[in-house]
């Protein structure tokens, strides 16, 4: 029998608000252990949670970026469970009345067709403390760091619309890009500001039943999510083929052994509306303000880039993949550089150079204005692309406009016909055998001859003019 997988994801995203969700402690869990703490986030007796306005705003904007319906009323519940990272014994989470319902994210399926994956809801919750396992002499001990306790999370819960690891990975990339765009979260699976659990079950292909699911946790990258889902699908198909039952439980992905292993039975504790954080009532005016703070999202931007700048779809997707990059691109274009050449040069030259210099667009000396001037010099044939690469390198190293750098280092392209004619004559007479080969029909010799001319000009000759001259002379 052929099986298909039914997959739903639960994604936790840590918001980057200045404070924790229910107190004024700094939302910087990486600081020295237990330095960002107070009675509220230590959950001491008598302390009461007070919802942060900034967290509510950022959570709302993140939900809007995922096309969700913001609920006019939402509320927090106390989810009771016992674990040392939650000494309060309950987590404040929106179990009954989430901030947002529905929503969707569009991806491309394996065949490149658009596929819309639906969200069930998005809710806010507090993170728990972090356990650190060490040894004291030979005795293993567990320590609790409360810096992370009470840091703000949104949890995105999807519908079981996913059928493959591909769907899940594309979805995670899309959701990461979209939420990052809003500036409300970093969304890095590697640093733990985005975490993903997958609920996986299988069923005979074509069936619409929902079978017992298994939850898989502990994937630290988008690739791990894909690998873990692929492994789990195969494990479940093998189990069913061997007549083994699928039991509702949680499994951990082991990235070393590349397998999932059983962790615990899934526990559902009691849950009660929290009386100390009142119901959150949002009015239309407030929601409109949040909507006005939502930036143009990548999908809209792609359309606009194709329309306004005549980029190809792929170029537009690349230029929109991150908000900072898209803003850089548009700024360069606004400074007068031709859009497609700009996109090409950002993709093939600037981004690799940034990586080599370990810089980001936000901090580099290569400002949109300087980069635009460089592209314009190239467009006007004042420098050739070889020289342009050299100028770009100089832009990283020193101040000054590209024009000044071109002058200072003599990168200007030689396009003067008399100068070039002299150069070409010399090359043709020095390379008689190549000239002979070309005349006998070996077109490859042209490349060699142009190369020799470029070399003789120390890279400054206009290669297009050189080629035309040689062609004319040998015709």
């Amino acid at each position: 029998m052929k099986y298909e997988a039914v997959i739903g994801l639960e994604i936790h995203i840590q918001l980057n608000s200045a404070t924790k969700i229910f107190c004024d402690c700094a939302n910087t869990p990486g600081d020295d252990p237990n330095t960002n703490v107070c009675p509220v986030c230590l959950w001491l007796p008598g302390a009461l949670p007070v919802l942060s306005r900034e967290v509510l705003e950022k959570a709302t904007i993140a939900c809007l970026s995922l096309n969700c319906e913001i609920q006019s009323e939402s509320a927090f519940d106390q989810k009771v469970y016992y674990y040392p990272d939650l000494p309060k014994g309950f987590q404040l989470s929106q179990a009954h009345k989430p901030l947002a319902k529905k929503g969707w994210v569009e991806i491309q399926d394996e065949q490149g067709r658009p596929k819309r994956l639906r969200l069930h809801h998005v809710h806010m919750e507090e993170d728990v403390a972090k356990l650190v396992h060490e040894t004291e002499g030979r005795v293993p001990i567990s320590l609790v760091d409360f810096n992370r306790a009470g840091t703000p999370l949104i949890e995105v819960v999807t519908e079981p619309d996913f059928r493959s690891p591909h769907d899940a990975m594309e979805f995670l990339k899309a959701i990461r890009n979209q939420v990052r765009y809003t500036g409300c979260a970093e969304c890095s699976m590697e640093s733990g500001t985005m975490r993903c659990d997958a609920n996986i079950s299988i069923r005979p292909e074509g069936s619409d039943q929902l079978n017992t699911k298994v939850e898989v946790k502990n994937m630290n990258s988008i690739h791990h999510v894909g690998d873990a889902i692929a492994y789990e699908i195969k494990r479940q198909i093998d189990a069913v083929n061997n007549n083994e039952p699928i039991i509702l439980h949680t499994r951990l992905w082991d990235p070393e052994k590349r397998v999932t292993t059983a962790m615990r039975a899934k526990f559902e504790g009691p849950c009660i509306p929290d009386p100390s954080v009142p119901t959150i009532v949002l009015d239309d005016a407030w929601l409109e303000t949040m909507k006005s703070r939502l930036p143009e999202m990548p999908a809209q931007k792609v359309k606009r880039f194709v329309q306004d700048y005549s980029l190809t779809h792929d170029e537009a997707v690349l230029m929109s993949s991150e908000r900072g990059l898209s803003e850089f691109f548009e700024s360069v274009v606004t400074h007068g550089a031709p859009p497609r050449m700009t996109a090409g040069w950002i993709a093939t030259q600037l981004l690799p150079a940034l990586k080599a210099h370990q810089q980001t667009l936000a901090e580099t000396r290569v400002t949109p204005q300087r980069f635009a001037s460089l592209i314009q010099l190239l467009e006007k044939d004042e420098i050739n692309s070889n020289s342009a690469k050299s100028v770009l390198e100089k832009l990283f190293e020193m101040d000054g406009t590209p024009e000044e750098i071109v002058e200072k280092f003599g990168f200007r392209q030689v396009s003067d016909a008399a100068d070039l004619a002299k150069l070409v004559d010399q090359v043709l007479s020095d390379n008689a055998s190549a000239v002979e080969n070309y005349k006998n029909g070996n077109k490859k010799s042209m490349g060699f001859l142009v190369g020799q001319a470029m070399k003789a000009s120390r890279g400054k000759a206009n290669p297009k003019l050189v080629q035309k001259m040689i062609k004319d002379l040998l015709a």
Binding site: P39, P45, G46, L48, V80, G89, P270, S276
Partner: protein
């Protein structure tokens, strides 16, 4: 008159006139605690050193001509309120040795107003009970009769005021826990509107019902205490951002305008409950007559869902408690069992040994009511009843200014009489817990004594944030009744 017998109002006058010092007053009360509290056991912790130091500071300020409403006044706090640097036990073994790093907002406010904290008073463990017999440390005795309970859960705070072991005290009221012990001890106790007083620093029992309020000798002192306690607190989102009136102005209103034109409703369902003591009934109707003589129009009203109040309350309060008390795990503070071999074992043994029977009973009841499959039938149903009770009151207040009733069906019962019968014990809260369910204010003032000499209280309830009506009416009744024999012989 001896210093310990002074009301807050009289002590204020004498302090401001420099006729007495705060140190005199505090010393007198500490001596009284020393000589009488061995029998009563109203206190869990007496902070003699801290109290005297605060008294000396208050005297310095008084000497400099400074005066704030509570400057130099000795008060006692129910030991459910966090006090910075002073042990806070909730009368539970579970919190033995817990010293908070912060003051509850009400404690801050009392200190800002100049009050001297004498110590922490006894209660039913985590405020769960109606007799103070559920304390994890010791019972408290009723100053009027040592073999009777003082009521609960704020039994220590009520007994301390009645026995004159403090000038005023703070209690908390989740289902009658200020008003019922105030009634049993013959003192005045008010539960303000939910949201009137900040709950920050109050160790939660049932957060949607808990409210802090004062227990005092008379209504004037209650008004003075309310002035110090009420107000919005950004640390408690449920504290209401509404204007706080000068509650002592309600006394002047009575003096100038009386109670003429006020309408008081008597819920017929309250007076028809089984087991209503005849002395209580007699004292109640005697007070009703006094109110009528003051020009109050008294009429019968209906609160049709009264029958379901106790049941709904004992689903909602334990449900909230089961989650609120989950935090006492024995790891960072308080009691920890050291015999268990592993973590889960430690949790289990710590909770089994650290919590008393009643607390465990309510945690288990609440956990059951919230568990998957039962949630809608119990907690869901109870919250619906709660809404209906609120609607009953809203409808009733369309036709009256205050609602009046007894506080409890009987005067204080004997120690041990109800300990093995939780249901009977729960039913003693029948007249008080509806106001908690509806978030309304309620006051208990003494209105007489039964045949056995035990005091009986009279309850008045008002619309949300209308404590002014309560203070005015209660003051009027108090003045008119002019009870003698206001304090137990000790």
């Amino acid at each position: 008159m001896q210093f310990h017998e002074l009301t807050l109002f009289d002590a204020r006058k004498l302090l401001d006139a420099k006729d007495i010092s705060s140190v005199d007053l505090v010393t007198a009360l500490l001596e009284r605690i020393e000589s009488c509290d061995g029998e009563i056991q109203a206190y869990i912790t007496v902070d003699e050193k801290g109290a005297l130091a605060s008294a000396r500071k208050a005297d310095e300020r008084l000497a400099n001509g400074d005066s704030t409403p509570l400057l130099g006044i000795p008060v006692a706090l129910k030991d459910l309120l966090c006090t910075k640097g002073l042990a806070t036990t909730c009368a539970s073994r579970m919190l033995e040795g817990f010293v908070p790093q912060y003051d509850a907002t009400v404690v801050e406010k009392l200190k800002e107003s100049g009050a001297v904290i004498l110590g922490k008073t006894n209660l039913d463990e985590f405020a769960m009970g109606s007799s103070t017999e559920n304390s994890g440390f010791h019972i408290t005795r009723n100053p009027w009769s040592l073999d009777h309970v003082p009521g609960g859960s704020s039994g220590g705070s009520a007994a301390a005021v009645a026995a004159r072991l403090c000038t005023a005290s703070l209690g908390t009221d989740t289902g009658g826990s200020i008003r019922q012990p105030a009634s049993h001890c013959g003192v005045v106790g008010i539960k303000p509107t939910y949201g009137r007083v900040s709950r920050f620093g109050l160790v939660s029992y049932a957060s949607s019902l808990d409210q802090i309020g004062p227990i005092t000798r008379d209504v004037r002192d209650t008004a003075i205490m309310l002035n110090a306690l009420c107000g919005h607190d950004p640390r408690d989102t449920t504290s209401a951002n509404v204007a706080v009136p000068d509650f002592t102005a309600a006394l002047d209103e009575y003096e100038t305008q009386g109670l003429k034109g006020m309408v008081a409703g008597i819920p017929k369902e309250f007076l028809s409950v089984k087991g209503l003591d005849s002395d209580v009934e007699k004292a109640f109707y005697h007070s009703v007559k006094q109110l009528e003589s003051l020009g109050v129009e008294v009429k019968e009203i209906s609160l049709p869902h009264t029958d379901y109040a106790v049941a709904a309350y004992y689903v909602i309060a334990p449900s909230e408690a089961s989650s609120n008390l989950a935090r006492f795990d024995g790891v960072r503070y308080g009691y920890r069992d050291t015999e268990a071999a592993d973590l889960i074992g430690m949790y289990k043994k710590t909770k089994s040994k650290g919590f008393g029977d009643e607390v465990q009973r309510r945690i288990i009841t609440g956990t059951y009511a919230l568990s998957a499959g039962y949630y809608d039938a119990y907690y869901g149903q109870a919250t619906k009843v709660r809404s209906l009770i609120s609607q009953d009151f809203s409808r009733a207040f369309e036709g009256c200014d205050i609602i009046i009733s007894p506080v409890a069906p009987t005067p204080a019962f004997k120690i041990g009489e109800n300990v093995d019968d939780p249901l009977t014990m729960y039913l003693t809260d029948i007249f008080t817990l509806s106001t908690n369910m509806a978030g309304l204010p309620g006051i208990s003032i003494p209105c007489g004594h039964g045949k056995t000499g035990l005091p009986i209280g009279f309850q008045m309830m008002a619309n949300r944030f209308d404590e002014m009506a309560l203070v005015r009416a209660a003051y009027g009744l108090e003045q008119t009744l002019a009870l003698e024999n206001c304090f137990p012989e000790m």
